[in-house]
Structures are given as structure tokens and as C-alpha cells.
């Protein structure tokens, strides 16, 4: 039987648990209230939507 690498699932679990703990605590205790994690995405694709579709 082929042995499959276990690092993938471990990494996914680690990333998700860290994200859940940090994001929820940040939300609960209002850490970094001015930090918008989606800002880069909003900047790039918001501009693209404006150029392409005029929205």
C-alpha cells in the first residue's frame, strides 16, 4: 500500500485552528479594530470592478 504524506491534513488543521482562535478572539475583544483583512482584495478587485463594469 502506498504511504500518503500526513503533512497536508496536519497543516490544514493547524491553519484553521489558528485562524479560528485568532479571528474569534480579535472579534470578541476588538483587537486591531482598524485592521481589515480583506482590504488588499477590496483594493485590487474593487478597482477592477470599477474599471470593467463602472460599479
Amino acid at each position: 500500500m502506498v504511504k500518503r504524506p500526513a503533512w497536508g491534513p496536519t497543516l490544514v488543521w493547524l491553519v484553521c485552528v489558528c485562524f479560528v482562535v485568532i479571528a474569534y478572539l480579535a472579534l470578541l475583544f476588538q483587537w486591531w479594530p482598524d485592521f481589515h483583512p480583506l482590504y488588499p482584495l477590496e483594493l485590487v478587485f474593487g478597482t477592477a470592478t470599477k474599471w470593467l463594469f463602472g460599479l
Binding site: 500518503r4 504524506p5 497536508g8 491534513p9 490544514v12 488543521w13 484553521c16 485552528v17 485562524f19 479560528v20 479571528a23 474569534y24 480579535a26 472579534l27 483583512p37 480583506l38 482584495l41 477590496e42 478587485f45 474593487g46 477592477a48 470592478t49 470599477k50 470593467l52 463594469f53 463602472g54 460599479l55
Partner: protein, 368 residues
């Protein structure tokens, strides 16, 4: 392990709920933000988006008849760049999931449980979605079939009763501001909701007849377009310009139905229907994300990813969009180009890379 397969009918149902889940909440509000009297003209754009998705699905099933979208990325661009494409795809599906999860918590807290914390609502939603995704697509699609008889009874009732309050004069004057507002009102329907149909490509190995996927997308898109068109005509016909000030126009539409102090408060039925369809939509998104992670990590099953990613999706929804305005901005101003780039741009990039790799290999063979 036994392969989970779903029929064409089950796929079409899943795709209809995929659009209707949040489409019935968001599309009328987004369209009437730009135009009220001509709102009905913007709805067929959803079908155009569906056609675009069907075209992409056609290319996919021709080139990779047994692979998911993520498997196609690996085949096109190789393990390294293909892996990067898969990470991008998973992140986009994750963000779409966070938006839908946030819409779920918002709808529940606004429409029925105003004194319950959003976290509690998110926990219940997350538990349902994670459990359904864990059970698998086959059982989920079979359970989904049970919803149809209920919808067949309830839907005509919800459509016919407000019809008595509808006023045709609300649709005049036609083209009061020209085509531009109609075009702007169509963008979210085409490039956000229409392109969501392409998520079906992720379930190609689970389809009994994958070669029929494009036509199934077209059927689902046409049914969804007709349903949304009816909803938009009714909301505008009953409320007129007032519709712009309503957060959930369809909910208010159902609420105004009162016949002889006997038939009233039908919004409970509507609320149940919306929650069922949103949970169904979230499950499809969640399954697409988990199977993508399965391809990335090269594991035999996706079920190990269901709990962590599902929890992250609901927490992400609460964390990324603190209020309705932030969520609406993301859907209207970021969503169209973000999904267009991911659904059309990334596969095109992958196909170009595949061509380049093919020519490089051929040149190396000739040179050797």
C-alpha cells in the same frame, strides 16, 4: 471506498438551491438599488451568467471528463503551479462561503431571532453544514429531493397570494433612465450568482452523466431565472420605490399577505424555506472546498477537512464582515471581478500554461 454518485435531477436541484439560497434575499435588493421600474429587465442576466458557467463546464468535461476543477488545475499546470492555482481556488470558495455564512447569521438574527447572539446562530449553522458535508453528497442530494414536494405546495401559494396586491403601474415609465442602470443592476446577477453555477465542475467525478453537466447548468439557470424574475416582479409590483428601503423585500412581501384575518404571518414558512436553501447552498460550497483540499493534500477522502474548514468559514463570516454594509460592498464591488478572474481568468491561464508546457516538452524531445 464506494464512489458517491448523484443523478442529473439531483444535480439540477442542488444548482437551483445554490442560486436561490441567497439569491432570493440579495438579488432583488441589488437590482432595485440601480433601477426600480426596469428591475425585471436585469433578471435575465442571471441566465447569461449561467450560460457562461455552462460554457466553462463544457470545456472542462471535454478536456478532463473524470476530474474536478482542482484536478484539472493539476493536469494543466503541473504539481507546483497547479497547486498554487488550487490554493487560489480554495481561498475564493472559502471567501464565497464566508459571505453566505454571514448572510445566514444575518438573516436569522434580523428576521426571526433578534435577541440571540450571532455566534450561537453561527454554531448551529456550522454544525448542520459540517454534518451534512460529512455524510456526503449522495445522501445530501437524496435528502434534497424531499424538499421539492414541499416547494411545489408552498411556492405557488407564496406567489399567488401577493399577486392580488401587485400594481402594473409600478413598472412605468419604461426605460426611465435608459439602459445604463439596467446594465449596472445586471452585473451582480451575471458575474456573482451566474458564475456560482461553475462550482458544479468540482463535482464531476460524482456525476452519473458528467457529459450532460453543461446542459444541466443551463436548465438550472433557466429555472432559477424564472423564479427570481417572478420574485422581482412581485416585489416591485407591490412596493414600488419603497422596495429600495427594505433589507429583505421578499420577506416583507410575504408579511403583507393577510386574507380575512385567517391567512397571515406566512413569513414563517418563507423563513424556513430560506434557511433550508441557504444551508443547502453552504453545504455545496463547503463540499467544493473540502474536495479541493483533498486534491491539494492528495488524500483518499475529504472528511478530515470538514470540521476545521467549516468552523473557519463561519468564524470568517463574522470576522470579515462586521456589518451589512461591509458584506454588501464585498458582494457588489469586489465579487464581480473577483469571480470573473477566478472562474474564467485562472482556467484560461492554466490552459495557456498547458500549451506552453506541451511545446517546451516537444522542443526538448526534438532537441534530445
Amino acid at each position: 471506498m464506494r464512489k458517491e454518485l448523484i443523478s442529473r435531477y439531483q444535480l439540477i436541484l442542488l444548482l437551483i438551491w445554490l442560486t436561490m439560497g441567497t439569491g432570493v434575499l440579495v438579488i432583488p435588493s441589488v437590482i432595485t438599488e440601480f433601477t426600480v421600474t426596469d428591475a425585471w429587465m436585469a433578471v435575465p442576466s442571471l441566465f447569461v451568467g449561467g450560460l457562461l458557467s455552462a460554457g466553462i463546464a463544457r470545456v472542462h468535461v471535454k478536456k478532463f471528463p473524470n476530474s474536478r476543477a482542482t484536478g484539472g488545475f493539476l493536469a494543466m499546470a503541473g504539481p507546483v503551479i497547479g497547486g498554487v492555482f488550487i490554493i487560489w481556488y480554495i481561498s475564493v470558495v472559502f471567501l464565497v462561503g464566508t459571505v453566505v455564512a454571514r448572510e445566514f447569521t444575518l438573516f436569522v438574527t434580523v428576521a426571526s431571532l433578534p435577541y440571540t447572539s450571532e455566534t450561537a446562530v453561527a454554531v448551529i449553522g456550522c454544525a448542520s453544514v459540517v454534518y451534512i458535508a460529512y455524510v456526503g453528497i449522495e445522501s445530501f442530494a437524496r435528502a434534497n429531493e424531499f424538499v421539492v414536494p414541499l416547494a411545489v405546495v408552498v411556492l405557488p401559494l407564496l406567489i399567488l397570494l401577493p399577486l392580488t396586491l401587485c400594481d402594473v403601474h409600478q413598472f412605468y415609465p419604461v426605460f426611465s433612465s435608459g439602459w445604463l442602470p439596467v446594465w449596472k443592476a445586471s452585473i451582480v446577477s451575471i458575474f456573482v450568482y451566474g458564475l456560482e453555477f461553475s462550482l458544479a465542475i468540482q463535482f464531476v467525478p460524482n456525476l452519473r452523466s458528467p457529459e450532460k453537466l453543461p446542459i444541466d447548468i443551463v436548465i438550472a439557470a433557466s429555472i432559477s431565472t424564472v423564479l427570481i424574475l417572478i420574485v422581482v416582479i412581485l416585489t416591485v409590483g407591490v412596493f414600488g420605490y419603497t422596495v429600495r428601503y427594505l433589507q429583505y423585500p421578499v420577506l416583507e412581501l410575504i408579511r403583507v399577505v393577510r386574507i380575512g384575518r385567517f391567512i397571515e404571518r406566512l413569513d414563517t414558512i418563507y423563513g424556513i424555506a430560506v434557511l433550508m436553501t441557504i444551508i443547502s447552498k453552504l453545504t455545496v460550497i463547503h463540499l467544493a472546498m473540502c474536495t479541493g483540499i483533498q486534491d491539494l493534500c492528495k488524500t483518499r477522502d475529504y472528511r478530515w477537512a470538514v470540521l476545521p474548514t467549516g468552523t473557519a468559514m463561519f468564524v470568517g463570516g463574522l470576522y470579515f464582515y462586521r456589518n451589512v454594509a461591509q458584506m454588501a460592498y464585498f458582494i457588489e464591488h469586489v465579487g464581480p471581478s473577483y469571480l470573473l478572474f477566478t472562474v474564467v481568468g485562472v482556467p484560461l491561464l492554466g490552459l495557456t500554461l498547458q500549451r506552453v508546457r506541451f511545446h517546451l516538452k516537444r522542443r526538448a524531445r526534438k532537441g534530445g
